[in-house]
Symmetry: C2
Subunit: 330 residues, 2 copies
Amino acid sequence: MKNALSGAATLLAALTLSTTAFAKEPIQPIAPVQQLNLAQSELGKKLYFDPRLSKSGFISCNSCHNLSMGGTDNLKTSIGHNWQQGPINAPTVLNSSLNIAQFWDGRAADLQEQAGGPIANPGEMAFTHSLAIDVLESIPQYVTEFQQVFGTDQIKIEQVTEAIAEFEKTLVTPNSRFDQWLLGDKNALSADELSGYQLFKDSGCAACHNGEAVGGNSFQKMGVVEAYQAKSPAEGLSAVTGKDSDRFKFKVPTLRNVEMTYPYFHDGEAETLAEAVDVMGRLQLGRKFSPTENDQIVAFLKTLTGDQPQFQLPILPPSTDQTPQPKPFE
Amino acid sequence: MKNALSGAATLLAALTLSTTAFAKEPIQPIAPVQQLNLAQSELGKKLYFDPRLSKSGFISCNSCHNLSMGGTDNLKTSIGHNWQQGPINAPTVLNSSLNIAQFWDGRAADLQEQAGGPIANPGEMAFTHSLAIDVLESIPQYVTEFQQVFGTDQIKIEQVTEAIAEFEKTLVTPNSRFDQWLLGDKNALSADELSGYQLFKDSGCAACHNGEAVGGNSFQKMGVVEAYQAKSPAEGLSAVTGKDSDRFKFKVPTLRNVEMTYPYFHDGEAETLAEAVDVMGRLQLGRKFSPTENDQIVAFLKTLTGDQPQFQLPILPPSTDQTPQPKPFE
């Protein structure tokens, strides 16, 4: 009995310590999905994988935010309709529900608003919302599923984007080794990884890369101490606010699963994590990390890879004789 | 006891009847996968979904043989590297293990030989086998998995294609309503669907579209009674055999899941099943189906949709700093 009580006391002490330690950290563990409209999310999953939302019938949300590859395309900038080269690096969809806003320049307030963008962007899916609705309306299984989920007879683009956004809310990645450490498993990280985390905090990375998503919650200027030699014309937040002071401010990207979301920065110019850490250190913090320090920070960053979304590949309802044909080569 | 025996006798009689009926049919039910190297198939599934087997890093096997869409891209002809327009309609990968040979002209003897084709085809994935191996060799998780599966230290293209082929063997679609009917469930088909099947047999469709895959087991000339007015330059089997008598002979496509594998024919010129049935009737059989007959045959064809492959979307191992970069825009 004494041993049991003593064990309980030790456990309590450990839990208290863990909670205290956790409260002091700038990063919080990713919470699993707490609330979900499952029917809406299942519909959204189909739409996310459906290339018939593009003019060509070839490009779906998953083409550039590939859930087999960290929710990105792992390309410097994306490939759009007719193989057009996109202007910016595709940010990961993983944990994007935690972002303060969507797109690098934050021009969409939330996931639902974001989802409508690429469908109608001539350089991406090159479709129109109205044509996308025509396609969906021609497919009885979609019509029925929208009726079940939204209780209305006519499919609206707001329902399409709402369902996609609901699916995207499921794309969180809890249970990374770093989160296991945060939650009390002190053996989850190696000494090098812990040193990297300490450096990450001490040198100021965590000033912007913090919170549940280790980023995604503020806009910051790219090139604070030293100017960034951008090859891309993207100017970031100023394109949205019109303020000169917002030039080159971009949404701080999440570092969750950063091992999988290469290449880095809004222009995809940094091919490796080592390069990204080096550039960030010099330009944002005025600090040149030694090779050992760089290695340690990279080692820490790789502990942020969480459980990837696990789900069955959706089977899409077939088109009918009434479905408008895709136009890949027009 | 008497009732039980009488019930058993009835069941036996029904089974005998069913087996007899079944033996007389030109179509046999699809058998589920009987034998599989699971580790190889799981590796092959990753490779099937991995766009890093293409020059651009954007096109995977699943891009044109999309397992969400009946194992095809549902385009007249496919989109290749740099948005090149392919010369031929992408045949479904579903049940392709049952084919007599692969590709419309049968130029690959089996699935393994087929799998190497698109990777190195400049108009498709535009890569080389050697570069594909370089990519895989740079990714430790792949190296380990190949070691486990093949017991060798160095990845070879023959292993890549063997693994992909093993995965493709899993892509059979048993349990269609038609197979349920073949297996004895006489309520599985409606009167119209049964009439369509009777017409399908009586008018000669089943002469070529027979067996487990309802096709896929012979090469036949496109345009027997009446010439096919082809817009595509594809000449079929003669390109492989060099024989003039093989001009315009193509592998008879499977009709399994044909509801999902639109558009139809090697050139994708028939947009609907009704059109395909009409053209086939006139050109191959010299028979003009009435609208009712056409409807009935189409109704029968839609009963050939089987259980689609069910599996988790694979998560791909990330590239490393040593991985050669994709070159989408070169």
